[in-house]
């Protein structure tokens, strides 16, 4: 509620979660007594960190409509998206990846990325006309450029099952990027990704940030995240422990004891 992230202007936040909560079998996953509240301002690069089971992925699921929240409200870009359908939220401009990468197994690598785009050629009526071929070539070009961006050049015609774990993760990023989302939520993008590809990913995220995309990234790899993000939200037991710029979070005593461990301060 009181978060201003990086922009001190009066512009309302792009995303605002107010007192959202989620329980699984009676156990609280997100939201303490008063629910979880935070805001993300337009164009900011936010890191979401916290111990295993803190509720980071669940928070993503609540925002993106994969799960319905038990209480609270979420607004995005002036729309009330509380418990809206996943596809509606995606079409409003929220992209997301999953902690366990998801892919369309029966489609080629290129078609996976092409499927990410919402093209008028995909409509039922278009199937019986000629127009879809034009839309298709535009989408395919965009998909190929996106594959280059995530370092999957030359893999376009491969089957998804031929990709490694890290490549699969990059494929999912590409599938969301081709949608040109306003805000992109990434759930542990570096996990299982080798150092070379991680470097490439860091450059890509910095570039997207410069281009004005709003980014929220969940990561346990703090060397990666703290070097990129401007604002960090720290979650424990579904509640916001603290938030602030990376430099403050690094040295915050509460964060060190709840998540980083004493060694990290050294």
């Amino acid at each position: 509620m009181n978060n201003t992230a990086s922009t001190p202007t009066a512009e309302p936040p792009l995303l605002e979660a107010s007192a959202i909560s989620k329980r699984f079998a009676g156990l609280r996953a997100v939201g303490g007594e008063d629910g979880l509240s935070f805001a993300v301002s337009r164009g900011s690069f936010v890191g979401l960190i916290g111990p295993n089971g803190a509720g980071k992925s669940t928070t993503f699921n609540l925002i993106s409509g994969v799960l319905a929240s038990d209480s609270g409200a979420v607004t995005f870009d002036g729309h009330d998206i509380t418990n809206a359908a996943s596809d509606t939220i995606a079409e409003l401009g929220i992209g997301r990846t999953f902690q366990t990468p998801r892919a369309f197994e029966s489609l080629s690598v290129l078609d996976n990325v092409v499927s990410g785009a919402t093209s008028p050629g995909e409509r039922l009526r278009a199937a019986f006309g000629r127009a879809w071929r034009t839309h298709e070539s535009v989408t395919v070009d965009a998909a190929k450029r996106t594959l280059d961006r995530v370092g999957l050049t030359g893999r376009a015609d491969d089957l998804v099952s031929d990709l490694s774990g890290g490549e699969l993760r990059m494929l999912e990023v590409a599938r969301q990027l081709v949608r040109n989302p306003v805000m992109l939520l990434l759930d542990e993008p570096t996990s299982g990704v080798d150092p070379v590809l991680q470097k490439r990913l860091a450059a890509l995220l910095a570039e997207l940030h410069r281009e004005g995309m709003t980014l929220v990234v969940v990561e346990h790899n703090l060397h990666f995240l703290l070097a990129l993000a401007e604002h960090i939200l720290v979650l424990t037991h579904g509640e916001l422990l603290t938030e602030g710029p990376p430099t403050e979070i690094r040295t915050d005593a509460a964060v060190i004891s709840a998540y980083l461990g004493d060694d990290y301060a050294a």
Partner: protein, 309 residues
């Protein structure tokens, strides 16, 4: 053995049921929906065709509706009736996943079947509607059975071409994406519910028309023709032919119908041997089914064709 007669029957019935298998292929293999009540949509088409073409009731007739429409209009009505039935049954069921959808569609078909058995005013109960008129009695030099075979084959080819076109478009790719991973498809902005409903409705149209042709061919719309067994035969045909291509659906149906026709018309010496053959037919169908499931030959062929494309 009259092989020409067998050929004509296989083309006729194979095409009529092939249309149903093609529709099931679209629903299941591409749309990811398990419909265990597919016979009901076929039955709706057959009954609609019978009701719209039969004369108004008179004398001892128990049924209340008969419109005496010309057959082309009635065929359209049969397709429309199946579409409406799909809209009504799809609305509450399509939100259900996998096996739940299978159970509800099965239950729907059973309810519909017992409705047909018990409702005299619409379908004339267990007796069914036996007044179905064949379109024209005089086709000139062409024998009527060839006309039927041709009409059924035309409907089947038209269905195949329309479905193939649909599935090769970006719409078909989006369907594949939804079937592969619904959550990821939603995150990619695909309207999963809307597309499922569309596929369910579209596939009902040719099933209804095929039901109409079937009633025309058998001159009968009777509950005993539309039991769950039909649903299972269609499913077996789909699995036999492989789910991956529209051609497989047709090949599987033709193969199955051919096999049944040969056993049915084989000139057995004794009644006993005919009975044995009839039961062996079931066993062989079952074994074939298991073998195909185990080795998936058609899927492999389809895969190879895709790879070399």
């Amino acid at each position: 053995m009259n092989w020409l007669q067998i050929f004509v029957t296989v083309v006729t019935l194979g095409s009529i049921f092939g249309v149903v298998t093609l529709s099931l292929n679209l629903q299941y293999a591409r749309g990811g929906m398990i419909n265990f009540g597919i016979v009901a949509y076929f039955a709706v088409g057959a009954y609609a065709y019978a009701i719209f073409t039969q004369p108004a009731p008179q004398g001892l007739d128990q049924y209340k509706f008969g419109f005496g429409w010309p057959w082309p209009v009635a065929l359209v009505a049969a397709a429309t009736a199946a579409l409406l039935f799909a809209a009504i049954t799809g609305w509450p069921t399509l939100r259900l996943r996998g096996e739940y959808l299978a159970l509800t569609t099965f239950a729907f078909a059973e309810v519909f079947h017992s409705f047909l058995l018990n409702e005299r005013r619409i379908g004339n109960g267990t007796v069914g509607l036996a007044n179905v008129k064949r379109p024209i009695s005089d086709w000139g030099p062409i024998e009527e059975k060839y006309v039927f075979a041709g009409a059924a084959a035309l409907l089947m080819i038209a269905t195949l071409l329309v479905f193939r076109r649909l599935l090769r478009s970006p719409y078909g790719r989006a369907l594949d994406a939804i079937r592969d991973d619904e959550v990821a498809a939603l995150a990619a902005g695909k309207s999963v519910q809307r597309m499922r409903r569309q596929v369910f409705l579209i596939s009902a149209i040719p099933i209804g028309a095929a039901g109409g042709l079937y009633a025309m061919f058998t001159t009968l719309a009777q509950p005993s023709l539309f039991t769950a067994e039909v649903t299972f035969i269609i499913w077996i045909a789909l699995v036999l032919g492989g789910e991956r291509s529209v051609y497989g659906a047709v090949a599987g149906t033709f193969g199955l119908i051919f096999f049944e026709e040969v056993v049915r018309t084989w000139p057995f010496e004794t009644v006993r041997s005919a009975q044995i053959a009839a039961s062996v037919e079931h066993i062989v169908t079952g074994l074939l089914f298991i073998a195909v499931l185990r080795y998936q030959p058609f899927d492999r062929i389809a895969e190879r064709m895709k790879a070399t494309r």
